[in-house]
Structure formats: C-alpha cells, structure tokens
C-alpha cells in the first residue's frame, strides 16, 4: 500500500460538529448579502441540527391536538358532537385544521421541512462517507502513549517484521490499513467501523422511505366499509359499499370484483366474574369468490385474522344485531319481511337502535323507530341490556304513519327516519318478544318481531404502501442498531528498535482511540487486540530463525506467562487531534 497524503481534517464529521462550525460566525446575514447568500444561509440553517431539533419538537407538539380533539379520520361522530357542544369554538378549530391535524397543511409543512432538513444533512454525509472510504487513515502519531488507550511491550522481532505481523493481525480483524511509504519507517495505522455511519445514513433514509410509502398508500390505496347481515352476499363494487374512501389516483373500477357471503357469525362472551360481558371470541364463517364465476371458497374471519382476496384485505371490525320484522299493511299484504340492522350505541351490552321504513305500505307509508335489547331487564320502567349476548331479546317500537319523505330527493340514512311528515300511532313504546306482533290502531296493519340475525361490519382495504413501509421501518431499525452498536475506531502500531540487548530487540507500542463509544466496550476490545498482537509477536519470534532458545529462556519478559495481559495505559487526554476523529 502506498503512502497517500494525510488528510488535513477527518473527512468524517458528524452533523453536530458541522453545526458547531457553522455557528462560529462565518457567513452571518449582514450588509452585502445577496439573494444567493441568503438562500445559502437559509439552506445551512435548515439543514443544521439545531433547526432539525426545533422541527422535531414542533412535530411532537403538533401531534398533541390530534389526540386530544376528535379527528375526522378516526372519529367523525366525535367531531359532530364537538360542534354541537362548542358551537363557537368548533369552527375556529376547524379553520386551523385541528379536526384533521395529520392532513393539515401546517402539519405537512412541519414534516416536509423536517425531511428536507434531513435530506440536506444526509446527502452531503453520504458523499463524505464515500470520500472517507477512499481516504486512508492518518499516519500513526509519534507518541502512542498519549492516546486514550495504549499498550507497550517488547519483542524479539525486528521492527519491520513486527509491523508485518501486526498488519496481518489487524487485517484479519477487518481493519483498513495504512503503511508508511518509506520502507525504513516502522508504523501502521488501522481503521474500522465505517458501518456506523452507514447505519446512521440507512436509518435516516429509511425514515424518508416510510414517508414515501405512506404517501403511496394514500394516493393509490382505498378503504371501504360494508355492513353484512348473516345469510347475505355482497360484491365489492362501489354501489354495494356503505362507505368508499378512494385514494387520489383510485377509481371505482380498481375495486377487486370479489363477493363475500356471511354464512354464520358467532360471538361468545364471558358469563361470570368481574369480566362478565366482555367478549371472549368472534368468529365469522364466510364463503367468497375471488372473481365472478370463480370457485366459492370458505374461510373464517376473526379479529386479528383478515382475509386476503384479490389484492385487498377484508377485516372483521364490528358486529351487531339485525332484528327481523314482518309488516302487513291495511290491505293485509306483506310489504316488509327482512332483517334490519340496528346499531349499538355507547350505552353498552349491545342496546341497539334502528328504524324500519315501509314505503310500500298502503294506504299510508309506515315507519318504526326501535330499540333492540339483547338481554332485557326492566329497571324503573326503563329497558336495559345486562348482557351482550341475545339471551332475552326484546324490541321496543314506536310506530308512525304518513310520508317517509323518501321522494324529497335528499338522501336519507337507513338508520334514521325523518318523522316530520308522519304522525305517531302509538303513544308509548311497545315492547315485543320474538314471535309477538303489534297491531297498529285503526286497522293500519301489523308488525311482527319474528327473530334476529347477527350482522358484521367489514373493512376492505388496499394499501400498496404497506410492504414498502414495513421494509423501510425494518431498515430504519437495522440502521439504528448498526449506528448504535458499531464504533468507529483507529488502532496504531509503532515499533522502535532497541538494539539486540537482552533479546528484546524492539519495543512495540500500540495505541487506540474511538470517536463515539457511548455504548462502551472499546477498552475491552483494545485490551484483547493488544493481547492478540502481543501473542502473535511472541509466536512469530518463536518461529523466527533468529530465535535462540537460551536467550528466550533468560528473558521471561519477552514471552513470559502473561500473554493475555499487556500493560495497557490510559494516558492523559493529549492533543491527538491529528489522529483523532476531527
């Protein structure tokens, strides 16, 4: 290896040091600052660690309202509630984007600035890493005992031979070596641990990758919801979905044309103890076809066990009860006979609410608002549900007649009824058990509560950014571990000739230092390296043709018993910046 020019400064500087330098006073804004100077100054500020820190804080701070206030994305009902309870404040908060923090422009500004800062920091560092990988370590300093770690011992080898042996040992440990150009000098520089910076860069770039993956999912993915009653089938088309949230570049034709039938749904609950009423298991037995006319496959959907079909994933995310009603109108005709999904509110134990709309009833349209109680107990005249399973199901109905208002052109929810055009037929809610009927007054007809079936709500998602995000996340973790566990260190060897007196022909000095050894352990590594060097030197001396038994025997200091413990010294912290990590 040839002796190249020793680098003036270590090409391998941390951003921190860069930051120190930058604030040292050069290029501050002032008179005579041109636009280019301003831009340069601004860029340097943005890419400094200080600003990155501030942006990190802003990112943390900006996330706080996203968890304290209801968000459009996760809790739209909560947002409506907030509007109702804080009519003055809510519009202001909405204006600031606080109900949709993670999609708000100001939040995007924070993380985009942060990632710009990151790129501005990481890219130059990548170049520096490449540069330092092509530059040899600095020359060995003259006084190795001044380094943070050092050791010294004698050997019977000549200086040049001793350096050769040391080079073999250090190269065997994967160190990059630098040797003097002048064959008369006997020293060696070795450096190792570039993976530290590689890991650091990998971590930061992988974070960038996570951001890109999330954006990918947002643009090319979709999310949909569908409520499916036991015994029914739906096809994954936009019209069949209850909710459809496509990404920007997704259209309805991108949906996979699969069909799913809910054959049976079972929920079981803990029936005793303090946990009584908590769910114990959910199991949805379905059959599905991946494409029209395809073979029907069977599967079990459970929580934590989604179904993958046709590039999408189907999740079981909720369930409830759909009481079955049969309605005959004044003419005696059956105008309604189907399960009607009721939605459980926050009152617990699946006390569910819903409406039954019978537009085909004659002479007037009929409507019912109802409550389904799976295990009913009457407490002070009020029905309460005491258990989520349907052990004693009842419904409580209020009947209306008149105009349902479905032709008004305003889309209506199937879970709500507009009673403005209707008159109430029954004064009090009427309670029915399965099989029981309610005769409407004035011969308006009959409603029969024939039973109930369960329903499940399914989430259907497609997220092309998912796998990239996972890979980037794991890469970030790997980079983090690398940068925490690998240390950049330099080891130097210098061999001085003593003259052949007493068999100790040369004195070997070993010195070492590390830059960032926060995780500790360099002292141990250095001690074992020094011991290995010493034992290699002893071994080589023993094999050497110059080796003389008699001499060796007289000088236990050369190859005595303590091979594994060279004298390591911790010198005072000297001015070794020339060899240190600048």
């Amino acid at each position: 290896m040839t002796d190249v020019r020793a680098p003036e400064a270590d090409p391998f500087e941390s951003a921190a040091e860069q930051d120190d330098r930058e604030t040292a006073g050069r290029d501050r804004p002032g008179r005579g600052f041109s636009l280019a100077d301003w831009l340069k100054w601004g860029w340097r500020q943005l890419t400094s660690m200080r600003i990155a820190l501030v942006l990190l804080f802003l990112l943390a701070l900006g996330s706080v309202p996203g968890s304290m206030l209801p968000q459009e994305g996760t809790n739209p009902a909560g947002v409506q509630q907030y509007y109702a309870s804080h009519p003055a404040l809510a519009p202001l908060l909405n204006h600031l984007g606080l109900f949709n923090v993670f999609a708000a422009p100001w939040f995007a500004a924070i993380y985009l600035l942060l990632f710009t800062s990151l790129v501005g920091c990481v890219v130059p560092r990548t170049f520096r890493l490449v540069g330092s990988a092509r530059t040899l370590p600095p020359r060995a300093p003259r006084h190795l005992a001044r380094l943070p770690r050092s050791a010294e011992y004698g050997t019977a080898l000549a200086p040049v031979q001793a350096v050769e042996v040391a080079a073999t040992v250090l190269a065997g440990h994967g160190f990059r070596l630098r040797r003097p150009a002048d064959a008369g000098e006997a020293w060696l520089s070795a450096e190792k641990g570039y993976l530290r910076e590689v890991g650091n860069l990998l971590f930061h770039l992988a974070l960038l990758g996570v951001l890109v993956s999330v954006a990918l999912g947002g643009l090319f993915g979709y999310k949909a919801d569908r409520l499916l009653v036991q015994g029914t089938t739906f096809a994954d088309t936009q019209s069949a979905l209850d909710e459809f949230y496509p990404g920007r570049f997704v259209s309805a034709t991108d949906l996979g044309p699969f069909t799913i039938t809910l054959n049976q749904f079972d929920a079981s609950y803990i029936s005793s103890g303090v946990q009584r009423g908590q769910p114990a298991s959910f199991d949805a037995q379905i059959s599905y076809t991946a494409h029209p006319g395809g073979p029907a496959l069977r599967d079990n959907l459970e929580v934590n066990r989604p179904l993958s079909v046709d590039g999408a994933k189907v999740y079981l995310i909720g369930h409830g009860y759909a009481p079955v009603f049969k309605v005959t109108d004044a003419r005696g005709q059956v105008v309604y006979d189907q399960p009607t999904p009721f939605i459980s509110g926050s009152s617990g134990n699946f006390l569910s609410q819903g409406v039954v709309k019978v537009p085909d009833a004659q002479p007037e349209q009929l409507g019912f608002t109802g409550v389904f109680v799976p295990t009913a107990v009457e407490v002070d005249g009020v029905l309460e549900s005491v258990f989520p399973a349907a052990d004693h199901p009842v419904v409580s109905l209020i009947a209306y007649a008149g105009n349902l208002g479905e032709n008004s052109g305003i889309p209506q929810s199937v879970y709500q009824m507009d009673t403005t055009g209707m008159r109430q037929l029954t004064a009090d809610p009427q309670v029915l058990v399965p099989g029981q009927s309610l005769k409407l007054p004035d011969g308006q007809g009959t409603i029969t509560f024939t039973g109930y079936v369960p329903w499940v709500s399914l989430a259907i998602t497609h997220d092309p950014g998912q796998l990239p995000a996972l890979i980037c996340g794991l890469a970030a973790l790997g980079g983090l571990l690398l940068s925490f566990m690998v240390r950049r260190r330099r080891v130097f060897v210098r061999v001085r000739a003593n003259g052949p007196a007493g068999g100790v022909q040369s004195t070997v000095q070993v010195g070492g230092l590390t830059r960032t050894d926060a995780s500790g352990g360099f002292e141990d590594e250095f001690a074992s390296l020094a011991a290995e060097l010493r034992s290699a030197h002893d071994q080589a001396a023993a094999n050497s043709v110059l080796y003389k038994r008699s001499r060796y025997a007289k000088n236990p200091a050369v190859a005595g018993g303590r091979l594994s413990a060279p004298i390591a010294r911790a010198g005072p912290k000297g001015p070794h910046s020339r060899v240190g990590f600048a």
């Binding site: 943390a60 999740y315 973790l477 912290k573």
Partner: protein
C-alpha cells in the same frame, strides 16, 4: 382455557413480598448514605493522581480490564466529586474516593464486598426482591395462559420488573449503587401505586388482544418502558446534581454535600443515561413497528393516528430529539435531560391518561 385463580393468588403474594423486600432494600440503600463508612480516603497526593486519571478515564470510557489486573485493589479510581464540571466542588472536597462508578479495576462482586455492609445488604435485598417480582410476573402469566401484560396493572408490574432487573445489572456492572435509593425507590412507588390503585384480578383478554402480536408488541413496549423508567430516574438525579453544582458555583450552596459527593459525576450520569436510552430507543422503535403490523392485522391499517399511536409517536420523536440534542452544541447536558424527561412524561401520559380517559382503539387498560 379458564384462569387459574390459585396461581393468580400465588402471584399476588409474591408481588407483595417483592414490594416489601424492595422497600427494605431502599431503606438499606438510604442507610448506606446515612451510616455507611466512607471509602478509604487515599493520601492527598494519590487522590490528586487518581483525580487526573479519573478525568482521563471519564473521557474515554472506563478503566480497562488490563489496567485492572495491575492496579492494587484499593487504588480503585472513582470520580472525585463531580468531575468534569467540577472545578469548584472538587477543589473544596478532600481526596475522597466514592464507592461507585465508573467500571473499575475490581470485579463487581468484590467491589460490592468492599462497599460496606449497608450496600451488601441493599444489593442482596434488591436481588431477592427482583427474584420474587419475577416469580410474581411469571406465575401471573401461567395463571392466565398468556403474556402477563394484558392490562395496565399487569403492564406496570411487568415494566417495574424490567426496570428492577435492568437496574440491578447497571448497579453491578457500573457500581452505581449510590443510585439505588433513587431507582429502587421509584420502583417501590410505582409498584405500590399499581397495587393499591389499579389492581386487576387475573382474567381473560378481549378478542382484539388475542394475538401473538400481544406478546411481541407489548413485550417490546414493556421492556422499553422499563428501560426508559431507569433513564428517567437517572435524568432526575442528573438534574438535581447539576442544579446543586450550579448553586455551589454561584455561591448559594455549601460545597461538599455528602450525598452529591458520593454520587457519580455529572459526566458519568450523563453517559449512563445515554447508554440506557440507546438501549431503550431501538426497543421502542421495534415495539412501534410491531404495533403497526398488529394494527394492520386487527384494524386494517398499520397507522391510523389513534390517540395511543399518536402518543407513542410523540414519545419516539422526543427520545429521538434527546439523541440528537446530545450531539448538538448548546443542547448537551441539562437541556438534553429535560428532553428525555419530557419523553418519559409523554410515555407516562400515554399509559395513565390517554389509555384510560381518551376513547380510542387501545382502550384495554381494564381500569374502572
């Protein structure tokens, strides 16, 4: 499988025993401060020498094993008062050689042996307490046939167990037993509060938690929280010592406080905290990733800004800020420690407030 109630009771008994033993160990750690004999104070000359060496050691790590073999046992170098920032305090104090930190020549067990009866008793009690605590956690797991961190009570008992084990290791490895009274004291308080305020009997989990990702995600979070717990206590000690030193420098406090003198130096505390967080941060990162994978399986998205996810993110960002702050001029030391304490505050806020009072998908605390 039904819950094994008898085993659940065994677990409770062990936990109470651990609490009592920990309390005793805290008393013994405090007793060391009050009555423990100070370490052999070397001659003034050697003290000066030791101080210089300690300064050099502090800069690069600690004494090497090789040096250890050569050094006579009682030339053990310790920090002469708060080294580094210490001009003032150290100048005033005699050549005292405190009995803990950094890693020194003598093997750990011998060092404990030399540290005096109070430390020996305290360490033995802490070790026995950790064993009882571990048995409590394991029997709880056997009683409920799953990883025993499915609700908040179980989570706190498990994370304090991690903190105790981790700190026991730190105390032995880094001779940091003068910190024992603080860390074990905090463990006792946390465990006592869990026992009195949020005790939850052994029980089954809701279907959303019935996944092997519970084992992976929550285990990682428990480990990381236990480690951050230790770092937070170290941070508080750091800030206290730092404040004292600044008061001394300003002439508003008497130098040579007996407790501060025996604590590790600021630099050592800082490095220990840093190492602790460097250990916890990747574990936390892994926990967040595992949580994202689980969220994808259970809820159909890997990240949805659920309140608990948001606060895990905030915690991650704050600890990342700590790691960066330590490498930024003007942010090292005190400010960096404020940041990590802020990170721990957000972590505690997530566990104690967000999971209990803010409705979200993670509302599994089981606290009523």
């Amino acid at each position: 499988m039904p819950v094994n109630l008898a085993l659940g009771h065994v677990s409770n008994d062990f936990l109470i025993a651990a609490l009592v033993i920990y309390s005793l160990s805290v008393v013994a750690f405090a007793g060391d401060f009050a009555f423990g004999r100070p370490r052999r104070a070397g001659s003034a000359a050697r003290g000066q020498q030791a101080r210089e060496r300690a300064g050099a050691l502090a800069a690069v790590g600690a004494a090497s094993v090789a040096a250890a073999a050569d050094a006579p046992p009682d030339s053990v170098v310790g920090p002469p008062g708060p080294a580094g920032q210490a001009g003032v305090a150290a100048a005033g104090s005699p050549a005292a050689v405190p009995d803990s930190m950094p890693e020194v020549a003598v093997p750990p067990l011998r060092a404990i042996g030399q540290a005096g009866h109070w430390v020996q008793a305290a360490m033995a009690l802490a070790a026995v307490g950790v064993v009882a605590h571990t048995v409590a956690v394991v029997t709880r797991g056997l009683a409920v046939h799953r990883a025993p961190w499915g609700n908040m009570y179980e989570f706190v008992t498990a994370l304090t167990c991690v903190a105790a084990i981790f700190f026991l290791f730190v105390m032995v490895r880094y001779r940091a037993w003068t910190l024992g009274v603080f860390v074990m004291g905090a463990v006792v308080v946390a465990l006592g509060l869990a026992e009195t305020l949020i005790y939850t009997a052994a029980g089954q989990l809701v279907p959303a938690l019935q996944s092997y990702w519970l084992d992976i995600h929550v285990t990682a979070m428990t480990l990381a929280t236990g480690i951050f717990f230790v770092a937070a206590v170290l941070g508080v000690v750091y800030l206290t010592v730092d404040r004292y030193n600044r008061r001394v420098a300003a002439g508003r406090a008497e130098p040579g406080n007996g407790i501060v003198r025996r604590l590790p130096s600021l630099e050592q505390l800082d490095r220990l905290t840093y190492r602790t967080i460097m250990f916890g941060f990747p574990v936390w990162t892994f926990g967040v990733i595992a949580g994202a994978i689980w969220a994808d399986q259970a809820w159909g998205r890997y990240w949805g800004w659920d309140p608990v996810e948001t606060w895990a993110f905030i915690t991650w960002v704050l600890y990342a800020a700590f790691l960066h702050a330590r490498a930024t001029a003007g942010w090292r030391g005190r400010r960096a420690h404020y940041i990590q304490l802020l990170g721990f505050t957000s972590l505690m806020f997530n566990i104690l407030v967000v999971q209990v009072f803010i409705a979200g998908l993670h509302s599994y605390a089981g606290v009523s």
